[in-house]
Symmetry: D2
Subunit: 454 residues, 4 copies
C-alpha cells in the first residue's frame, strides 16, 4: 500500500494518490495531472477512481482531465448537483488491493463536503490508518465557512459537528491528510507542518479546544477575503471544467507584436522579480511576480480578455501557464520572448518604481514629511503590527478603492516584505498615479531598523 | 516544517529528511546522496546534521559522503566506538527552526541503537509529532536481534523494553518512521504499508501483543540468514566508509576485452531479466537480475576481485553501480557494452538454461520421473508451502552446499516465482553442473496449475 | 543562423530545423514533434514554415501535428494533389532573418519531390551554404525509384537529371542534408557518415560517376522491398495524417486482462531482447525487439486490429508507442505491465526457442544432419555471403511463403546476427510450426567460428 | 561515422566529438565534460583520444578532466612545452573505425596551433570530409595574432600561410569546424552562421580575399582587448589545469552569513537581470548578469579571493558555477539563497540605479544639460556609431581609468543595449561614485528614438 502527496505551490494545495495491488485512487487532483500518472507508473498501478472532497472555489479541479486520460470514475458529494461524476454516500467503501476508502459526509466548509477514511484490510479493517479531511480539518485550523449557502452560524455548527462527530471519533492514532497547507486562502492560520494525527489536533489545534458555541462564534466572526474569481471556479467545478487541449503555450513574440496586442486590449502580466519590476516595467502592465501568481491573479485578471506574459525565462512562462490554468485562465496568448530587454532596445517607453529603504521611510516618518504610505496587507496582518499614519487598503481590493488614496505624493506602497507592494505599485501606475515608490523589505525591514510601530 | 522520505529500492531502505527555518537534518542517509541535496535545495534549506539510528549491517551508510558535501555534523549512538562522528546521548535535543529532534536510546537490534522523537515547538513541545524508530520498530514487525553482541534472550529483552518503555510511551498519536519497509533483511514480516502510528502498532503489530516472555521466546527463535557481506558492512560502517570518488563508472568494452578480463579473474554479473538469461548467458557468469542485486550480490560477490557487468542498457548499468556502491563494492571495472548480442556475434560460446513450465513439473512429479528439484527459498517460505521431494538449499547458502545436491539429472531450480531460480541456475553452471533447467513461474505457477503441495 | 538535425532512430530519418532572426523553418518533421519545439525555444525562435521534400512512404509525416502546435504554414511539391498545405514552385524563396530557402523541383524518387537550397544573405546570396536533398540524393546513394508512378526507366532518368542538372550545379562547396541516413528503406547503400558536400559526392558517390544510361540501368535493376504499410503511409501523407490526441498511452494491465484481449483478437508484440524471447514468450505473440520495430512492424502488424505490448520497462513502452505512431499505428491499447514475469506466475503457458550456437550449426552441416536452415536476410545480403543448403525467404515475405519451408525439423532461423531470426522464429510459432530454434549470432558468429560459406 | 558539436554559450566556444566503430575522439573539450560522455554513450563509443588545437587563452581546457574520466590520451602541438599530454606532428594520422584524423601544423594564432583534417577511409582517404581549424580559420574571420610570441607581422604572415598553404589546399568541398563562433574574444567579426566550407570561405571570407601583404597589415592593425585573466588561462592550460573535485557547489546562506563573508573580503557577484540590479543591489557588489559572465568575469574578478553569488534561482547559480569553472575560478564559496529579497527583509542597506530612457538622454543632450555620458563599448563599436560628447572607456578597462571620468553628475552608463552599462554602473558604485544612472536600451534605443549620432 502506498500514499504519496502532490503539492501545488502557490495554492498551498495538497492532493493524494493511494494505491495497492496495481490499482490507485487520487484525491482532489489538480488540472496539470502528469504527476499522478508518473507516480502511478512508478508503482505500476492504474488510476481507477478519483475522489473530490468538495467543490473547490480556489482552483479548477483536475478530475475530468485525469479521468479522460485514465478512464477513472469520479466521485463527489451528493449534496451538490455536479454536472459530471457520481455521488458517493456516507459509508460507501471503495477497494483497491488491501486498501479500502470509506466515505464520510462532513458538511461545513461546503454543503457537500466529504472526508475519506483509509483502511488496510491486511492488518485491521476496524481502525483507519489515515483520513483525508479535505477543507474540513487542517493542521491547526479548519475550513472557512463563508462559502456555505446557509447562515454562518449554521455552517459553523455543521463544521463543528463534522469534525467532532465524524472525524475525531476515528481515533487519536489516525494521521490526517488535508487538502491545503499553510498559505491557502481556504482556511486561516494553517500550520506550516503537514504532519499530524487526529489526537495531536484534538490536543493542539486551537480551534478544536473551543466549545461548540465558542467555535461557532469564532468561525462566524472570521471575514476571509473572497476574490472575484471564486465565482468562476465554483461555476467550472460544478459543471465540470473544460479539458485542456494539447499545449496551449503562448506564442513567443517580439516587442512590436506584443505592443500591438496590448493596444488591442491584451492584459500584460509581468512575472519578474520585484526588483526587476522596480528597475523598469512596461506602462500599463500588471506586475505579479511568479511566486504570487496563484494567490493574486484571480483578483485582477479578466477571464474575457487575452493575456500576455513578460519574462525572458521559458521556465517561468511554463510555470505561469500552469498556474493560470489552475485558476481557469485559458486565453494566454503571447509571451514577450526576450523579456523587458527586448522591449527596451526598441526605444519603447518604460516606467520605473524607485525603491525606498526602511531607513528612508523612518526618516520621513520621523521628520513628518508629507507622503502617502499605502499598506496593502490584510486586516489580520495589520492588526498584528503596522506603521503609524498608513492608509490601509487590502491589495485585492485596491482597484475598487482608488478614491480612498490620499493626495500626498509620493505614494510608497508597503506590505510584509515588499512583494505585494510591487503589485500595488503597478496597479497605481496602470491607473495613472504618479510619484509611486515601493518599500522593498517593507515591514520586515522596518522592524529590523527600528521603525516605530503602532 | 517538512518531512520527506527517500526510499532505496532493493534494500527496502527508508531514510528521512526533516527541516524547518532553512535548516535540515537527515536520518540514515544512503551513499548516493544526491536526493538529499535536491530535496534540501527545493526547501531552500541547508543540511546541518546527520543522524544514524544504528551501525547498519546491510548497506554502507552515506553519512560521511553527505557530510563531506554539506559540512554537516554526524551523530550516532554512544555504545559503539565509531571511527567518525559524535555520540548523541539520551535526552539531547537538536533544533532547526521550530523543530526539535530528541534522542532516545533504544538498544536491542544493536547495542548502540537510537530512535529520535520529533517535536514542533510552534504548536506543542511536550508531545512528539513523529518518531524515527530505525531498526527497533517496524510497521508490523521489529528488528532482528541476532546481530547483538550478547545472548539472543538478552537482546530480545532489551528490544522489548526499548519498544515498550521508550517508544510506546510517546503516545498513540505519534506516527512512526522506521528505517526499513517490506522486503528488508533487517526484520521479518514487515508490512507493505509504510503508514502507521504507535497506537496502530500497539493494537495491530503481531509482535507487540506478546507478553515480555513470549516476545523474548519469539525473537530468540528467529533464525534470519546472515549474508557474508554483513561483516564487511559492519566494518565499514564502524570505521567510516571511504568516500566515493568522482564517478567510478565502468568502462564500456567489447566482447574481446571483456573475455580477456574474465580470463584474468574478473567476476561477471549478468543483470538481465531471467528470461534473457535463460535464453543465453556467458559461461562462468553469475546471473543476478537487476531487481535482486541489492538482496543477493552480497552473498556471492567477492570484494577483492574486479567486477564486470552484462547488460546492453546504460540505465541498468548506472542503477547496478549505485546498488553495488551501497553494498560497499567499488571495483566495478567493465561493462559489456552491447550486452549479450555483442558477445554472440563474435562466435564466443554461450550457455542456455531451458525453461520448464509448471505443467511439465507437475507431469514429471506425477509420473515419478527421476530428476532433481532444487528449491532455493528460505526456511520460512518452505515451511509455508513446498512441492514434495524437493531438495531444499537456501539460495545464499548454495555455493557452500553443492555436495548436498542429488545426482539425478536434470536439475530444475525452483523458488517463489522463478527469479531466484535463475541465480541458482547460473551458480550451478559456474560450478560445472550439467542438465540445469529453470522453472519460470515456480511456486506461484505451480499453485495456479494445481501441483500437489506438501 | 542555426541548423540543427533531428534524427529518428529505427527509421534512419533525418529532419532539420534552420533559423535566423527569431524565426525558424522545419524540413520533413516527424510526428512526435517536441524536439523541434525545444530546439526553437533554445534559439528563441518561432517556427513559421514547414517544408516537405516529398510525400513519404516510410513514416507518417509530422507537418500537420507541428503546424497545429505552432501555426506554421506547410509547403510541399505541386506535382501531387495533397489534401493540406500549399504548393511551392521552382525558384520561390522564403526568408527568415538573413537566411533564404530556395525551392528546387527535383522529381525522380517521387514525382513531386523538392530540394531546398539555403542561402545566407549576410555573406553571399549567390552561393548556397547548404542544400536539403530529401530522398533525391543521399550520402553515397540516391533515392529508390520504384515508387514513382511512371516506368522505372523514366523515373531513373528524371532522378539523374534532378541530381546532375539541379543539385550538382549548386557547386562543389555545398554541404548536403538528405532525409535519410544508413539503414533507411528509402535508398540502397547509404553511407554511415552523415557529413558530405556536393563536391565530395560528385567524386565519391558510386552512383554519380555512372553515365546517364548506366545510371538508368542501375536504378531500374534495383528491386527494393515494398512493405505493405507503404500504401497506408502514402494515403495518410497525401490526405494529411490525423492529429495525435493528448497521450494515447496503452493501459498497463495484468496477465489476465492481457490474455482476454488476445483471445478477443488483439495483436501481441513482444519488444524484449532476442535472448529474452528465446527464453520464454507468449504463444501467439509476434516478437520484434524494440530496435527493429521501425523497420519491421509495418510488414506484419494490421492497422485494423488492437495492439498489446509486452515489456516490463516503461521507457521501452514509451519508445515503442512513439515508433508505432510514426508508422501510423494508433490502436495501441494494452501493456502487459509486469512483462513476461507477470504472465509466468499465473501459470499461463509460454513457449521457448532453443538457441543454437554457430559451432552446433557447423557440426550439423558438416555431419549432414537433416534440418532446415531458414535464412531470412535480403537478396543483397545473401548474394554477399551465405551458408550452403539454406532455405532463403526474406523476413518481410515470410508470412506469405510458409509453404516454401521444407519438412525437415528442427528449423533453425538465421540472419546476419540473430535479431531478425527471433522475429522469424516467433512468426513460425504463431503459425503452428514446431521444432523452431534460433541461431543467436547467426552469420557473424558463423564467420568467426569458420563455418563454410557459399 | 558521427560528428557532433558541443557549444559553450558565453564563450562562443565550439568543441567536437567524432567517432566510428565504437571509438571516439574529442577536439578542444571544455572542463564540464559530461556532454562528451553522454554523446559517446549514445553512440556506444569510448573516448580514446583528445586533441587540442592550441593552448587556449580564454577558457580552461577540459582535456585533463576528460582524460581522467575516460583514460583517453591527450594530443597537442609540439611547439609549446605543455606539462601534460603528447605532442602530435604534421602528417600523423589517428584512426577510429573508418575515420582518420590527420595533423596539420598551422601556426599563427599561437605558435603551436594545429588543425585536423578528417578522412573517411570507407569512401575516399585522399580527400578530407571535414577540417577542424581551431582558432586559425573561423567562418568569416581568422584568429587574433596578438598572443603570438613574435612580432605581429611575423604572426600574421604565419597565419596567412597556414590558411593558404595548409587549409585551403584541402579543397573547396571541405566543411570547416572552427573552435569559436560569433561573439568570441578570439577573433574579430566571426559570422553568426556556423555552417561553411573552405570553398565558401575562399570566396566570401573578407580576410581571405586580401593579398598576403594586405592580410599582414590588416591583422597587425587589429588591437583586440587582452583581459587580465588570459595570463591565468595560459598558465593553467600550459601546465595542465587541476581537476575539479566532486561538486564544488557554493553553500546557500542567509543574508547575515553573506554579509559577514563580504566584510571578510569575499567578492560579491550579482547575476540577476539588468533591470533587477537597477531596482536594488547590495552595496559593494559587482553586477554581471549571467549571460555576460563568461565574457566579463575574467576582467574583474580576482582568483585569490572568495566569491559569493547573488540570485534566487538555483539554475542560475549552477550555470554561473560552470561558467566560472571554465574561466578557472574555483573559490566560489557562498550563495545568497533567497536572492536580494532575503537581504532586503533584514533591513540591510541596498543601492539603486535609476534607469534613464533614451528619450530623456536625447532631451538632456539637446538641452545641453551638464552630465556625464559614459560609453563603455569597444573601440570598434564606437567607431561605427556613437553619441556626441560621450566619455569613452572600454568596460574592461574601467577599473583602471576611473580618473578619466569627468566631474559632471549624474553619470549615465551607456553601451549597445544596456547590459554592459549595468556592469559599469555597479563598478562605479563600488568605487564610491554617486549620481550613477543607467541607460537601459542604450544605443539601440537611441537609434530608435532618433538621437543625434556622431
Amino acid at each position: 500500500m502506498f500514499l504519496e502527496t502532490v503539492r501545488s505551490e502557490g495554492l498551498a494545495h495538497l492532493s493524494y494518490l493511494i494505491g495497492d495491488g496495481g490499482e490507485a485512487f487520487v484525491i482532489d487532483p489538480r488540472r496539470d495531472c502528469e504527476p499522478y500518472l508518473a507516480i502511478a507508473d512508478r508503482h505500476e498501478a492504474r488510476i481507477t477512481r478519483i475522489f473530490e472532497t468538495h467543490r473547490n472555489e480556489d482552483y479548477v479541479v483536475g478530475s475530468c482531465e485525469l479521468a479522460q486520460r485514465t478512464g477513472a470514475v469520479i466521485h463527489h458529494g451528493a449534496a451538490f448537483p455536479f454536472g459530471y461524476g457520481k455521488p458517493a454516500a456516507e459509508g460507501e467503501r471503495f477497494t483497491a488491493g488491501a486498501l479500502q476508502l470509506a466515505v464520510l459526509e462532513t458538511p461545513g466548509h461546503t454543503a457537500e463536503s466529504l472526508s475519506f477514511a483509509l483502511y488496510d484490510t491486511a492488518t485491521g479493517d476496524d481502525e483507519a490508518v489515515a483520513v483525508f479531511t479535505g477543507d474540513t480539518l487542517f493542521v491547526d485550523g479548519s475550513g472557512r465557512i463563508d462559502l456555505y449557502p446557509d447562515s454562518p452560524e449554521e455552517a459553523a455548527a455543521r463544521l463543528h459537528d463534522s469534525i467532532h462527530r465524524k472525524l475525531l471519533p476515528l481515533g487519536d492514532s489516525v494521521p490526517l491528510f488535508p487538502a491545503h497547507g499553510a498559505g491557502s486562502v481556504c482556511g486561516a492560520s494553517i500550520a506550516a507542518r503537514e504532519l499530524s494525527t487526529l489526537g495531536y489536533e484534538r490536543r493542539h489545534n486551537r480551534e478544536l479546544s473551543l466549545t461548540r458555541e465558542a467555535f461557532i462564534r469564532h468561525k462566524s466572526a472570521e471575514q476571509p477575503y473572497q476574490p472575484p474569481y471564486f465565482r468562476q471556479m465554483e461555476r467550472l467545478n460544478g459543471e465540470g471544467p473544460p479539458l485542456l487541449g494539447p499545449e496551449r503555450w503562448p506564442q513567443p513574440v517580439s516587442a512590436a507584436d506584443f505592443a500591438a496586442a496590448q493596444a488591442g486590449g491584451m492584459q500584460l502580466v509581468d512575472l519578474r522579480e520585484p526588483e526587476a519590476i522596480a528597475g523598469a516595467l512596461i506602462p500599463g502592465s500588471l506586475a505579479i511576480p511568479l511566486e504570487m501568481l496563484g494567490a493574486f491573479a484571480g483578483w485582477f485578471l479578466s477571464y474575457e480578455r487575452d493575456i500576455g506574459l513578460v519574462s525572458h525565462h521559458p521556465l517561468h512562462i511554463a510555470e505561469a501557464v500552469t498556474r493560470l490554468h489552475r485558476l481557469g485562465y485559458e486565453r494566454i496568448r503571447l509571451w514577450l520572448k526576450e523579456g523587458l530587454h527586448g522591449w527596451e532596445v526598441t526605444g519603447r517607453p518604460y516606467a520605473t518604481v524607485p525603491a525606498i529603504h526602511a531607513t528612508e521611510l523612518k526618516r520621513r516618518l520621523e521628520s513628518h514629511q508629507p507622503f502617502t504610505l499605502l499598506d496593502v496587507r490584510s486586516r489580520s496582518e495589520i492588526a498584528a503590527a503596522a506603521l503609524p499614519g498608513a492608509t490601509e487598503i487590502y491589495l485585492g481590493e485596491l482597484p475598487g478603492r482608488l478614491n480612498d488614496i490620499p493626495v500626498e505624493r509620493p505614494i510608497v506602497t508597503f506590505c510584509g516584505t515588499g512583494r505585494r507592494s510591487i503589485i500595488a505599485a503597478s496597479i497605481l501606475l496602470q491607473q495613472g498615479f504618479s510619484g509611486v515608490e515601493v518599500c522593498l523589505g517593507s515591514l520586515a525591514a522596518c522592524k529590523a531598523v527600528g521603525c516605530p510601530l503602532r
